[in-house]
């Protein structure tokens, strides 16, 4: 990562300018199409915010970018490869239901699992891995409850734990599905700060949300309602008409 950014030359910039590109992409589950004709581009350091209600297709699109669902048609590339091909350079935060599972894992252990993509099956944790984990724990405020078992944590605390896990990956692309769900205002602000910090070191971020506030800092916004309602810079895409069309008659909260 550092090597790449430090030595980026003009040719490097031209070939790697787009972290994510999709053309006429169709996403869905199995044979069931959810959204079609998606065209998008996210550059290094850019933030694409996907906005829509539940079932609008934003999670489906994120899962497709993460390589968890195959593209139904069209083309999509992440860092120049098919989605899912680069686990060390792309990190995905799923939409986590609160886990009431009896997993005997401390928050700290869950965060450390983010390094498994780099460690593979057998490699032992190095100082770099340990530092990545402790940095992520500090940045997300997970440190307050790092030694508690995951099962004892509140929904918001689990959310921060999973975000910390994603950050340990030191990825070049972050795919975040509702990272602020269940967080209070302070929590939301700290997530926004973390995203800004990641972008400033060249990370491309795609964020799914139903909260219009999350779109303020975006380089581009995509409004989804089982189809692409609008796509472009925030002040252009977030017109009243588009928002009404995206959310139907229900008020966004």
């Amino acid at each position: 990562m550092n090597f790449r950014t430090n030595t980026s030359t003009l040719t490097d910039m031209i070939t790697t300018a787009n972290a994510i590109t999709a053309t006429r992409l169709q996403v869905g589950h199995g044979l069931h199409s959810v959204v079609h004709d998606i065209d998008l581009e996210v550059q290094s350091g850019g933030l694409l915010v996907l906005i829509g209600t539940n079932g609008s297709g934003k999670s489906t699109l994120l899962k497709t970018l993460a390589g968890l669902l195959p593209a139904l048609s069209g083309s999509v590339s992440v860092l120049g490869e098919v989605p899912g091909a680069l686990p060390k350079r792309v990190a995905y935060l799923p939409q986590h239901p609160v886990s009431s599972h009896t997993l005997p894992l401390r928050a700290r252990d869950v965060v450390a699992m983010g390094r498994y993509a780099h460690l593979g099956l057998f490699r032992r944790e190095s100082d770099t891995d340990r530092r990545a984990v402790s940095d992520a724990i500090t940045r997300t405020g997970t440190i307050d409850f790092a030694d508690q078992p995951l099962r004892n944590l509140s929904g918001g605390q689990q959310q921060r734990t999973h975000l910390a896990q994603v950050l340990t990956r030191h990825a070049e692309v972050l795919l975040l599905d509702e990272p602020t769900a269940g967080l209070d205002l302070n929590g939301k602000q700290s997530v926004a700060d973390i995203i800004a910090a990641e972008r400033s070191r060249g990370v491309a971020v795609v964020l799914a949300t139903h909260d219009l506030q999350d779109a303020v800092a975006a380089t581009s916004v995509m409004l989804l309602a089982q189809r692409v309602v609008a796509y472009g810079p925030p002040d252009h895409a977030l017109s009243d008409d588009n928002i009404r069309e995206c959310f139907g008659f229900t008020q966004p909260h």
């Binding site: 899962k63 993460a66 390589g67 968890l68 899912g84 686990p87 060390k88 792309v90 990190a91 995905y92 799923p94 986590h96 886990s99 599972h101 009896t102 997993l103 005997p104 894992l105 401390r106 252990d109 869950v110 699992m113 498994y116 993509a117 460690l119 593979g120 099956l121 405020g141 307050d144 409850f145 508690q148 078992p149 004892n152 944590l153 509140s154 605390q157 302070n186």
Partner: protein, 293 residues
């Protein structure tokens, strides 16, 4: 002899005087370790029902092997392979809720096993042996086989520990970390299948699930880390084997069932004893949370 020590004689005398009991203790301890290692991942993954299905799925295979005069282990291994295919087909493809599918598969296999066994002249003896095991008839040959199974199960656990733990948390997480979920899912089924095949002769196909689940579940209650959970499960399992065997000797009751019953009540005791700590953990947190803000 010191009368206080003599009082404890019943705890070891049976093993000093009877070679078959020593064998049984050794074999059931091996089974306890095999099941604790495999069972840890079964419990983590919420896979108990799949373990149950595998345990019943081997019955027709064993029954056929017995009819043909082939070692039961061979039939069990073939049955396990077929059943694993069935379970993974159901869990990956069928839209019917997978517990319904697996449930049907396992009663189907259980009834098929009974039908096949009923052709045998020693029906009652055979079916009892298959379902409830034959702990006191353990041969040295069985011990060798169990050591082999133990080595393979431990090797799988060492090899696949990270993906198994990732999958317990979230399958997608395993995939986005670069591990093939299909492959490691199959490997986990293989490990459970091996544990069943390695254990059924002792505790029987009906009871093997108890050895797989109870010590690991008790371990999950006391542990905060997966490694401690597994070690506690081994300790609970081996202790249950010993207590179960001593009980069975003195009260003249079925050995395999005594061991499994012991492991289940050990779980219940652990669950009750850890209630205060688990409740406390829940109450402590919001309090701690307030402090930091």
């Amino acid at each position: 002899m010191n009368p206080h020590i003599a009082l404890l004689n019943p705890l070891w005398e049976p093993f000093v005087n009877n070679a078959f009991l020593r064998n049984a203790l050794l074999a059931s301890s091996l089974v306890a370790i095999i099941c604790a290692v495999a069972g840890t991942y079964v419990v983590l993954r919420g896979f108990s029902f799949v373990g149950d299905a595998l345990a019943h799925g081997v019955i027709p295979g064993i029954a056929i092997a017995l009819l043909l005069g082939v070692p039961g282990v061979v039939g069990a291994a073939l049955g396990a392979v077929l059943m694993m295919g069935g379970v993974s087909a159901i869990t990956s493809k069928v839209r019917l809720s997978s517990d319904t599918g697996i449930g049907l598969l396992f009663v189907g296999m259980l009834s098929l096993g009974v039908i096949i066994t009923s052709r045998s002249t020693s029906f009652v003896g055979d079916i009892t042996r298959i379902l409830f095991g034959e702990l006191l008839g353990v041969q040295s040959r069985d011990l060798v086989w169990q050591v082999v199974v133990l080595v393979v199960v431990v090797a799988i656990a060492v090899f696949a520990h990270r993906p198994f733990v990732l999958m317990s948390l979230d399958e997608g997480l395993a995939r986005t970390s670069g591990f093939s979920v299909t492959f490691f899912h199959g490997l986990m089924l293989t490990m459970v299948g091996l544990a069943v095949v390695g254990s059924f002769q002792l505790v029987g196909t009906l009871l093997v699930l108890g050895m797989l689940i109870a010590p690991a579940a008790a371990g999950a209650l006391v542990a905060r880390r997966v490694s401690t959970m597994m070690l506690s499960a081994i300790a609970f399992g081996v202790a249950s084997s010993y207590v179960g065997l001593v009980t069975s000797y003195h009260f003249d009751v079925a050995a395999g069932a005594s061991i499994v019953f012991t492991s289940v009540y050990v779980f219940i005791i652990v669950a009750i004893v850890t209630i205060p700590r688990r409740m406390l953990g829940h109450r402590e947190l919001p309090h701690q949370h307030e402090h930091t803000h």
